[in-house]
């Protein structure tokens, strides 16, 4: 089902992932998050931006184990654990945060 962002209609797949990576914007992220019942905070943005940078560099989304470790390294040990990430993204950090970041569903995702 397409989502409406700023008067534009963005195509998504049956699971709600953006069909077109290049159509992502912060506005789109906020709309995607809303659909997931998430109110984007600074902490949410930190993870979403990290995922976008990771994808830009490696052309894949990290698996949750990789995400947790990498976040810990970049943002500090108190954030590099699954409890923290699941609090932000209750339906699975990799899956939900990737969707909000406009990335494809992660390979071997949780």
């Amino acid at each position: 089902m397409p989502i409406e962002v700023g008067g534009k209609s963005l195509e998504t797949d049956e699971e709600g992932y953006l069909a077109n990576l290049s159509e992502w914007s912060e506005e789109a992220a906020t709309a995607l998050a809303e659909a997931e019942g998430i109110d984007m905070s600074t902490n949410h943005w930190e993870v979403v931006n990290f995922l976008r940078e990771y994808y830009e560099e490696y052309q894949i989304a990290p698996a949750v184990r990789v995400l947790t470790k990498a976040i810990g390294k970049k943002l500090g040990k108190d954030k590099g654990n699954s409890k923290y990430l699941y609090e932000l993204f209750p339906y699975g950090p990799a899956k939900q945060a990737c969707k909000i970041a406009g990335l494809p569903k992660p390979t071997g995702c949780v």
Binding site: E57, Q59, I60, G108
Partner: protein
């Protein structure tokens, strides 16, 4: 709990012309997410997957060569390149991407993932595996 198995993925096709290289890489990443002991071997035309400087803009395909650099994050730290296959193509280690991983046991020291091995050494390494997948 499950027992960790030694899995090796053997790559012997060039990228882009067929889907084998990308499919293999995806399966490797999935396998790695399940905390198995995963290694990769590149032989024959599989060597070409690791060439540096790939740029697919003109052919309209996804350039997945940067993904090999993420293997270290996924704890795939053993990447074997067969010396004979490299030499048969007039190539040297220098022509390949520099793939590394961080060794947790040594204070995250950066180490090279790629090891150039002879056919007979690779044959021995293959004999130590529990499961082998060919792509």
């Amino acid at each position: 709990m499950s027992v960790t198995k030694k899995l090796m993925y053997i790559n012997r096709r060039a990228p882009y012309g067929t889907i084998y290289a990308w499919e293999s890489l995806e399966v490797v990443l999935i396998g790695a997410a399940f905390e198995q002991d995963v290694s990769m071997a590149f032989i024959d035309d599989g060597i070409y997957q690791l060439l540096k400087g790939q740029d697919t803009n003109d052919i309209g395909m996804k350039n997945f060569s940067p993904t090999y650099s993420a293997l270290g994050d996924f704890e795939v730290t053993q990447i074997f390149v067969e010396k004979e296959s490299l030499e048969a193509r007039g190539l040297a280690l220098d022509d390949l991407m520099h793939l590394t991983y961080e060794d947790e046991d040594e204070d995250y020291a950066e180490k090279d993932s790629i090891k150039v091995v002879s056919s007979s050494e690779l044959a021995d390494i293959m004999e130590q595996q529990d499961v082998l997948y060919n792509f």
